[in-house]
């Protein structure tokens, strides 16, 4: 994480543009620019700036956005809810679809369901999120008019509207996640299906359904959980795109807006936050291994 922090700082401080000039505006004189620079501490040496920045982060102060003229922490806090709701919805939807699909594909290997699942998963890797998004919008919002085209409603303003507006974006992102998870599930289940204990379970007369749930899925769980964790990176990328398409005022949208405005404290903070979340989720995933497979110890 230390490396990430340093890297995020360095990357964004090597900017070719001068942020002070951007904040000061087009009509600013050289003195104005210098004043802004001094105010922001940009005139100090880079290592000192890094020290100050680290200290501020440790205190939860992410600086002030150049563009939105607000505290970055307040800005982020304001945008967390849509993104978290979207991501949660997506993962739940994806796991609910992908795991049964993967298991079915492995169980009936070579059948139409296997081909369908694998074909879908290759497609999920290849079709970009926004193309899926527009296809879904076109079908379900424009043609059939079942769901709203875009927008977001806070959960506090009514649950119905909240869910209604989340369905299409989550479905968009879930399709990509399904591709990822179903593929690994299938591979992992296939491997376990050949194990001796599966044969034993069948031999003792256990119904296939129970064999799959109790013996196979349990033993195949570790790679599946791993890929869900790794998929968060894809999910974060997808969130950025999907929020733009569906006009959801979340963190992804904030990232794009901040980049367009060259608002680097915000970019810095968002990239750092996303990376932190990604690392933390994978840490949690690592820790669940011990629950899923008691043979693993740390």
């Amino acid at each position: 994480m230390a490396v990430v922090t340093t890297m995020v700082f360095l990357l964004l401080r090597l900017t070719t543009g001068d942020p002070a000039a951007i904040i000061a505006g087009d009509n600013a004189t050289a003195q104005d620019v210098a004043a802004v620079r001094a105010k922001l501490g940009l005139d100090r040496p880079i290592p000192q700036q890094f020290g100050i920045w680290l200290g501020n982060i440790a205190r939860g102060d992410l600086g002030e956005s150049f563009f939105f003229k607000k505290k970055v922490s307040a800005l982020i806090l304001d945008r967390v809810e849509p993104t978290v709701s979207l991501a949660t919805c997506t993962v739940v939807l994806a796991v609910m679809l992908a795991v049964p699909l993967g298991v079915a594909a492995a169980y009936r290997r070579g059948s139409w369901i296997d081909r369908l699942a694998m074909g879908m998963s290759v497609l999920g890797f290849s079709v970009p999120a926004f193309v899926i998004a527009y296809t879904l919008i076109y079908l379900f919002a424009v043609q059939f008019a079942w769901l709203p085209v875009q927008g977001y409603q806070r959960i506090s303003q009514g649950f119905g509207g909240f869910i209604e507006r989340l369905i299409l974006p989550s479905a968009t992102l879930a399709l990509i996640q399904v591709a990822l998870i179903a593929r690994i599930t299938r591979g992992s289940v296939l491997e376990v299906l050949n194990a001796d204990y599966v044969r034993t379970a069948r031999a003792k007369g256990l119904a296939d359904r129970w064999v799959l749930v109790r013996h196979v899925l349990r033993n195949a769980a570790v790679p599946i959980v791993t890929v869900i964790g790794l998929g968060v990176a894809v999910l974060i990328g997808g969130v950025v795109v999907t929020e733009s398409v569906f006009s959801i005022p979340g963190l992804g949208r904030l990232t794009v807006d901040a980049v367009l405005a060259r608002d680097y404290p915000t970019v810095q903070a968002v990239v750092l936050l996303f990376s932190l979340v990604y690392v933390l989720i994978n840490l949690v995933v690592d820790l669940t291994y011990t629950v899923l497979d008691p043979r693993i110890r740390y």
Partner: protein, 310 residues
């Protein structure tokens, strides 16, 4: 470092065909390699021969024929008073530009980005991976940097990187290459780590061959097959990321026709004129699909054992 790179790049081609005598044969008979290659070849031809396939200037604006649906005809009055009739097979966008021409020219950008990102990240990853895998004192330091880079989600890192420099093709390519490098490095390093324990490497060390020669002659050839496969997947994801960046308006400048830019332009009027998103979207998806299929097929035929490693 240079001394290692030079013999390495020559050997790639010399050794490529040799150890995979059976594999090359298998690769050509693999259906997904075949489908992928043929589809890609068509797209390459379409991109290169765009001017001969009825595509006109992709930047030409025609205010009289804005937002036409696919298949409509329009008339352009030339400077000398003569008139040109043309059919917009894929309609026109909100500035009256011919979508068909733009999609065809867009293929060029996507292919250039895909191929250059694949080649550059493979070359950089190969060099770093070889050194990190073989020189133990370098390994820890390099891999920590790579872990740090990998902790930042790829698209996010690319977005942060493009925000640094001025928008343009080169910036976009570099911004996509950097997040891909650690993945290549990991792959190369894992191959090197297993190869360095092989008896023939030990024998070469005992014979006193210098490290650069050893890496180039004995270690490098073993990395070629997995590297080609990985580069194919990198190419696919690079095409996708470029489209995403352009679509978000932070990639290649909007005046250059790329699939992402065409779709970004078509966003506002999507509900009424979906063709602006449909056609480039289909082309994009088909291209990426073709590259992925090629990669899948190559993986299966070049080295069946590789399935797990990737």
């Amino acid at each position: 470092m240079k001394a290692v790179a030079k013999p390495a790049s020559i050997d790639v081609f010399a050794e490529e065909a040799q150890p995979q005598f059976g594999a090359g044969h298998r690769a050509t008979r693999n259906t997904s390699v075949l489908i992928g290659t043929v589809t890609l070849a068509i797209i390459v031809v379409v991109g290169v021969l765009a001017p001969y396939l009825g595509a006109t200037d992709p930047a030409q604006i025609n205010p009289a024929a804005r937002n036409r649906t696919p298949g409509t005809e329009s008339t352009i009055r030339n400077a000398d008073g003569s008139e040109t009739h043309r059919t917009h097979w894929m309609g026109t966008d909100s500035l009256g530009r011919d979508v068909y021409s733009r999609v065809l020219y867009g293929a060029r950008v996507s292919l250039v980005v895909g191929v250059s990102v694949a080649v550059m990240s493979a070359a950089a990853g190969l060099l770093i991976g070889l050194l990190a895998g073989y020189l133990r004192w370098l390994d820890g330091f390099v891999m920590r940097i790579m872990d740090g880079l990998m902790a930042i989600p790829a698209i996010l890192l690319a977005i942060a990187l493009v925000s640094l420099a001025s928008a343009g093709l080169r910036t976009v390519i570099v911004a996509i290459v950097i997040p891909e490098i650690p993945r290549v490095v990991r792959l190369v390093r894992s191959v090197v780590l297993s190869i360095r324990e092989e008896p023939y490497v030990e024998a070469a060390v005992a014979l006193g061959s210098p490290t650069p020669a050893l890496l180039a002659r004995h270690v490098l050839p073993n990395t070629v097959a997995p590297l080609i496969v990985q580069a194919t997947f990198v190419c696919a994801s690079a095409i996708l990321v470029e489209a995403i960046l352009s679509f978000l308006g932070i990639g290649i400048p909007p005046q250059i026709p790329t699939w992402g830019n065409i779709m970004a332009e078509g966003r506002t009027l999507f509900r009424i004129f979906p063709h602006n998103i449909l056609f480039p979207g289909v082309f994009l998806a088909v291209t990426v699909l073709a590259v992925n299929m090629l990669g899948d097929g190559l993986r299966d035929s070049l080295d069946p054992r590789m399935r797990k490693r990737l």
